[in-house]
C-alpha cells in the first residue's frame, strides 16, 4: 500500500523509483513481522500474568513494588506498539516504542547472563529456564531492535522527504 502510493507519486519522475518502492516494501514487511511478533507476545503474556510476574522477578533487577506494575503494563504496551506499527502515520512511534522495550529486554537479559542466572526470559510466554534459550532470545531481541530502528529511520526519512 505505502510502497505503491509513493511509487505512484514520485515514481515517474525519479531515477530511484524501484529502489524506493523496494525499500518501502521492505519497511512494510518488516513492520508487519515485528507487529505480529509483539502482538502475539503481548496476548500470550496476558494469559498468565502471575507466571509473567514470576519471570520478571527472576531477573532480580526490579524491587517487588515495580514487578507487578511492569507485569500489568508491558503486555498492553507490546500489543499497542504492534498495532501502531501497522498504521503508516503511527508507525514511527510504534517502532520507537519497540526499540525502547527491546533495549530494555537486552539489558535485562545481558545482565542476567553476566550474573550467571539461569531463568525463563518470559519474552514469548513461559517456558523452562535454560541458558541456551536465553542466548537465543538475546539474539532475537537484537534482531528485533535493529528491525525497529530501521523502520523508525525509514519512516522518518519518508516524512522529511514529503516536506
Amino acid at each position: 500500500m505505502v510502497g505503491r502510493r509513493i511509487a505512484g507519486r514520485y515514481g515517474a519522475f525519479t531515477m530511484t523509483h524501484t529502489d524506493n518502492s523496494r525499500r518501502s516494501y521492505a519497511v512494510l514487511a518488516l513492520s508487519l513481522a515485528i507487529a505480529a511478533i509483539f502482538i502475539y507476545a503481548g496476548i500470550d503474556k496476558l494469559r498468565d500474568p502471575l507466571q509473567f510476574a514470576d519471570s520478571i522477578a527472576a531477573f532480580a533487577i526490579l524491587p517487588a513494588v515495580f514487578v507487578n506494575l511492569l507485569a500489568f503494563g508491558l503486555p498492553p504496551f507490546e500489543i499497542a506498539s504492534g498495532l501502531l506499527l501497522l498504521g503508516p502515520r503511527t508507525r514511527r512511534v510504534g517502532a520507537l516504542a519497540i526499540a525502547v522495550i527491546t533495549v530494555m529486554f537486552l539489558v535485562a537479559l545481558a545482565s542476567a547472563l553476566l550474573r550467571g542466572l539461569t531463568l525463563d526470559c518470559g519474552c514469548f510466554g513461559p517456558g523452562a529456564p535454560s541458558r541456551p534459550r536465553m542466548w537465543v532470545e538475546l539474539g532475537l531481541d537484537s534482531v528485533l531492535f535493529c528491525g525497529a530502528v530501521y523502520v523508525y529511520l525509514q519512516s522518518m526519512a519518508r516524512v522529511s522527504a514529503r516536506i
Binding site: F72, L74, F77, R92
Partner: protein, 197 residues
C-alpha cells in the same frame, strides 16, 4: 587558517540540520512512547482489576504466596524441616511403570493439561491449598506410602516446595524427581494430556 574554518563550516552545514532534526524528532516521538506507556499501564491495571484472579499491586514471591496458602490449611506450618530427598530419571521411571507410587505434578494446571507423566496427579504449587483439599482422599490414603513430586525441571522450585509442605503436613515418604517434565519428555517417554482427576 581562515579558509580551513570556512571549509569545515561549509562541510558541516549539510548534515547538521538533519542530525538536529533527527534528535528533535526522537525527543518528540519519545514523548509519544511515554504517553503510550502510561496508557498501557492504566489498561493493564484495569485488565488486572477485572480478571478472574487479580494480582496485588506489590509482587509476592512464590515462597511468600505458598506460605500464605499453607496457613489456610494449618494454623502454624512446622516449616523448618530437612528438605526432601531427590531421585533420578531411572528410579522415577521404574516407580511410574510399577504404578504403585503416587506421582504428583507440582506445575500449574495449564502446564499439566498440555502434557504430564502418565498416572500423575496435579497438586499445583500455585494452587496448593485448593488442590490439597480436592485431593485429600487420595493423599490421606498415601500418608505413609512413597510419593514422588516433580515440576518443569531445570531449576524449578515447585516440586521442592510441595514436597517439603507434604513432609511438614505429616507425610512420611516424599521424594523429588529433579529432572522433572523436561527430563521425562527429553527421554522420549510417553505423555498423558488433559485435566487432573
Amino acid at each position: 587558517m581562515q579558509t580551513s574554518v570556512t571549509s569545515i563550516g561549509a562541510h558541516d552545514s549539510a548534515p547538521l540540520p538533519f542530525a538536529r532534526n533527527l534528535a528533535a524528532q526522537i525527543v518528540r516521538d519519545l514523548g509519544g512512547v511515554a504517553i503510550l506507556a502510561v496508557v498501557a499501564l492504566a489498561a493493564g491495571l484495569v485488565i488486572n482489576r477485572y480478571s478472574s484472579a487479580p494480582l496485588p499491586i506489590v509482587y509476592r514471591t512464590p515462597e511468600q504466596r505458598f506460605d500464605a496458602e499453607l496457613t489456610t490449611l494449618v494454623s502454624a506450618p512446622p516449616f523448618k524441616i530437612a528438605p526432601a530427598a531427590t531421585i533420578g530419571l531411572d528410579k522415577f521411571r521404574s516407580a511410574v511403570d510399577a504404578k504403585s507410587t503416587l506421582i504428583l505434578d507440582a506445575r500449574p494446571s495449564s502446564f499439566f493439561e498440555v502434557g504430564h507423566v502418565p498416572g500423575a496427579i496435579n497438586l499445583a504449587r500455585d494452587d496448593f491449598a485448593h488442590d490439597y483439599r480436592k485431593l485429600s482422599a487420595v493423599l490421606d490414603a498415601n500418608r505413609d506410602k512413597p510419593i514422588i513430586v516433580y515440576c518443569s525441571g531445570g531449576d524449578c522450585h515447585d516440586s521442592k516446595l510441595v514436597a517439603n509442605a507434604l513432609l511438614s503436613l505429616g507425610f512420611s515418604d516424599v521424594t523429588v524427581f529433579t529432572g522433572g517434565w523436561d527430563a521425562w519428555s527429553a527421554a522420549g517417554l510417553p505423555a498423558a494430556t488433559g485435566p487432573s482427576r
